[in-house]
């Protein structure tokens, strides 16, 4: 029992390494893959792993949101786009070599700067201890929701004017984003429409309309041309049939 009784306080680290490795690995997959659907697939996995990191950092709601909106919604949309804009096999869309070289140099330098920044501060670099119970307390979604409606629970203790008037929340941005989403919804639906529809004579839908138009005409002509075998007197054929009358 001695062996297993040794506390292993590295769960967070273990899962961090796991999720970070998958996120970055599949990020590379996105970059290096040539097949668009595979790129999308790798992006899903990368974003999913990032959601895992969010969970790990205590942002449960944001993590679930990431899964729901990003992975569930955006990616399906993206795959739709991929399928609707299917490419012919002979169209070559490989990256030029000079692009690769340039992008690697610029990207590498950018990464250096960012990493330097990330590990630059002693405050950020030093891990801080937290108890299990404290972790649980940070995972509340309610304060988040309240903040979106304009109430900052976590700053209730502070007695600034903004707090006292209940103005410290994110109500305004929330409303702006809502309206923005609505506008985007309408705009995207409008943009994706084909505008050529009305005058495309060889369009299939026009042909269907034409078909219906012709059919309606036919029905009109029907009576004139006496094509229908008219209702014969059934009784003439069947003298016994008295209940039917024409």
């Amino acid at each position: 029992m001695d062996l297993i009784a040794v506390a292993w306080p590295y769960w967070h680290q273990f899962f961090f390494v796991l999720f970070a490795a998958t996120a970055i690995g599949f990020g590379f997959g996105v970059l290096l893959s040539k097949n668009v659907v595979r790129m999308a697939f790798y992006l899903v996995l990368s974003l999913g792993s990032t959601a895992g990191l969010f969970f790990l950092a205590g942002a449960e709601f944001v993590g679930a949101m990431q899964l729901m909106i990003y992975v569930g919604g955006t990616m399906v949309l993206l795959i739709f786009g991929v399928m609707l804009t299917a490419q012919k096999d002979f169209i070559n869309m490989d990256t030029h070599t000079q692009d690769w070289i340039l992008a690697t140099i610029v990207g590498g330098s950018l990464l250096m700067v960012l990493l330097f920044g990330a590990f630059g501060s002693e405050d950020w670099k030093t891990p801080q201890d937290i108890t299990d119970a404290e972790v649980q307390a940070t995972k509340e979604a309610t304060p988040l929701g309240l903040a979106l409606t304009g109430i900052r629970v976590d700053t209730l203790g502070e007695s600034t004017d903004a707090v006292a008037e209940g103005k410290s929340g994110y109500l305004m941005p929330f409303i702006i984003v809502s309206i923005h989403l609505l506008v985007v919804l309408i705009g995207a639906a409008y943009m994706a429409r084909t505008k050529k529809l009305s005058h495309a004579t060889d369009d299939k839908s026009s042909r269907a309309k034409l078909m219906l138009f012709k059919m309606e005409h036919e029905e009109e002509q029907l009576e004139e041309e006496q094509y229908v075998v008219t209702h014969r007197a059934k009784s003439a054929l069947n003298p016994l049939d008295s209940e039917n009358e024409d």
Binding site: M68, V76, L77, A133, L146, L156
Partner: protein, 452 residues
């Protein structure tokens, strides 16, 4: 559960107990998925057989052919795993696993009874929906990677359908969340304890409407008839799984049946009381230490007794087994209903499915949401008022400070701070610790103590 293993082996906070706890939870959930699929496929055969005036399987496994699915499973495992020439081999092979993993992962946050849950999440409702939404990926990838036009058709249909139906589904789920004021499934379930009039479906007419819309959208969301367009055999041969065979094919079915169960179980938790039966048997038999909770309400389960074993109380354990049975029974009833629908109705057309979603489900869900909000706001009588069974009250203290005078704010803030010191659920695992706190004033974090 980790605490229980710690207790069992006399160790403290070991990685071993966490690992074992996680493994046990994972295996138990896997059983729900795998054995559930076996059971449901057998059920589907028997039910469809009875509906269609025939017997269904009768021989394998003695009576009722109850081992038929297992025999078929063995056959499927033994079958050759074919990959078509034109397939994108990697995506083709990996697609079924994604679907299964998604529907399996959704079980993590599903509470089978109070404390019997893989992982307590404060955003459990959201998590389950989000993870279930990932299942559509397996279908899209399978359809694309098969290199077959029928599969691609199936995938496109499924993608369009599932993405559309997530909207009304989400709106329906918001209604119980709004009434209960939490996204924690355990709390939502516990707020419906007591007699069945406490169930949210009977809360007001609008929740009733919402429950119906939810079930419709959930049926569409898991691709069951009459919304099973992605695998419409008369149009698309077999839709997205046309090219699959053997084990990979059966994985799609396991995913389908387990998501059927999970949406039914979610419906039962959100609207039909979850682990609480129509009559609070455990409460009436006195299996639960209700006196500890003070208010004398029909509180069936003691939330503070955290985890299945943590309470170390046989009576509570029996009550929880009852709760698990209740939830599974309700889930199975939901699945049976879906089967009944499937074998009775023809299939809709893709434009009709979309019309139904956008023209009927979304507006109705919106009406349900607005109506339920208004009902709450106007404080109109709810279902539980009919039999004078007061609902267990879920009360959060977050905003109490705002309702007070400005002079009280500071004092209140101190109170909040002091409450936060109490927020140590694992330290307070014992049942008796809750005795000092009445329901009305229990801060939310203590109520929702995390498992493991």
């Amino acid at each position: 559960m980790a605490d229980f293993i710690d207790y069992l082996f006399g160790i403290d906070d070991s990685w071993f107990s966490y690992l074992v706890a996680a493994l046990v939870a994972a295996v138990l959930i896997l059983h729900v998925v795998a054995v559930g699929a076996l059971l449901f496929i057998w059920m589907e055969r028997k039910i469809s057989g009875r509906i269609q005036d025939r017997l269904g399987p009768t021989r394998v496994g003695g009576k009722f052919g109850w081992l038929q699915t297992l025999a078929d499973g063995i056959k499927l495992i033994a079958k050759e795993d074919i990959t078509p020439d034109l397939a994108d081999r990697f995506l083709f092979k990996i697609a079924p696993y994604i679907g299964l993993a998604a529907s399996y992962a959704a079980f993590i946050a599903l509470p089978f009874a109070d404390g019997v849950v893989g992982q307590h999440l404060n955003t459990a409702v959201f998590f389950v929906l989000a993870v279930l939404g990932l299942e559509v990926f397996s279908v899209i990838l399978a359809g694309y990677a098969s290199g077959s036009k029928w599969s691609l058709f199936g995938a496109m249909r499924e993608a369009a359908q599932v993405v559309s139906y997530e909207v009304p589904l989400g709106m329906c789920v918001v209604v119980p969340v709004m009434i209960c004021g939490t996204m924690n499934l355990t709390t939502i379930a516990n707020m419906q304890s007591g007699f069945f009039t406490n169930w949210l479906v009977f809360n007001d007419p609008f929740t009733f409407l919402t429950a119906i819309i939810y079930f419709t959208c959930a049926t569409a969301g898991v691709n069951r008839a009459p919304f099973d367009l992605a695998e419409a055999e008369s149009e698309l041969v077999a839709g997205f799984h046309t090219e699959y065979s053997g084990l990979r094919w059966s994985l799609f079915f396991m995913a389908e049946y387990s998501s059927m169960f999970i949406v039914s179980a979610l419906a039962s938790i959100l609207f039909f009381g979850g682990p609480h039966g129509p009559i609070p048997i455990a409460d009436i038999l006195g299996l639960l230490p209700t006196e500890n909770l003070g208010s004398g309400s029909a509180q069936a389960f003691n939330e503070n007794a955290d985890g299945f074993f943590a309470a170390m109380n046989v009576q509570v354990m029996i009550a929880r087994v009852l709760g698990v049975g209740n939830l599974i029974l309700k889930g199975v009833i939901g699945v049976t209903l879906m089967m009944w629908i499937r074998w009775s109705f023809p299939r809709l057309r893709i434009d009709q499915v979309m019309t139904m979603c956008l023209k009927y489900c979304v507006p109705l869900a919106a009406i349900g949401f607005i109506g339920a909000t208004a009902w709450q706001y106007l404080d109109l009588p709810t279902g539980n008022a009919l039999v004078d069974a007061p609902r267990y009250e879920h009360h959060e203290m977050w905003t109490d400070g705002l309702s007070k005078n400005e002079s009280d704010v500071e004092a209140e803030a101190e109170a909040v701070e002091s409450v936060e010191e109490v927020q140590t659920p694992h330290a307070n695992d014992k049942v008796t610790d809750a005795s000092s706190v009445t329901v009305k004033t229990v801060p939310v974090s203590v109520e929702k103590g995390g498992d493991q």
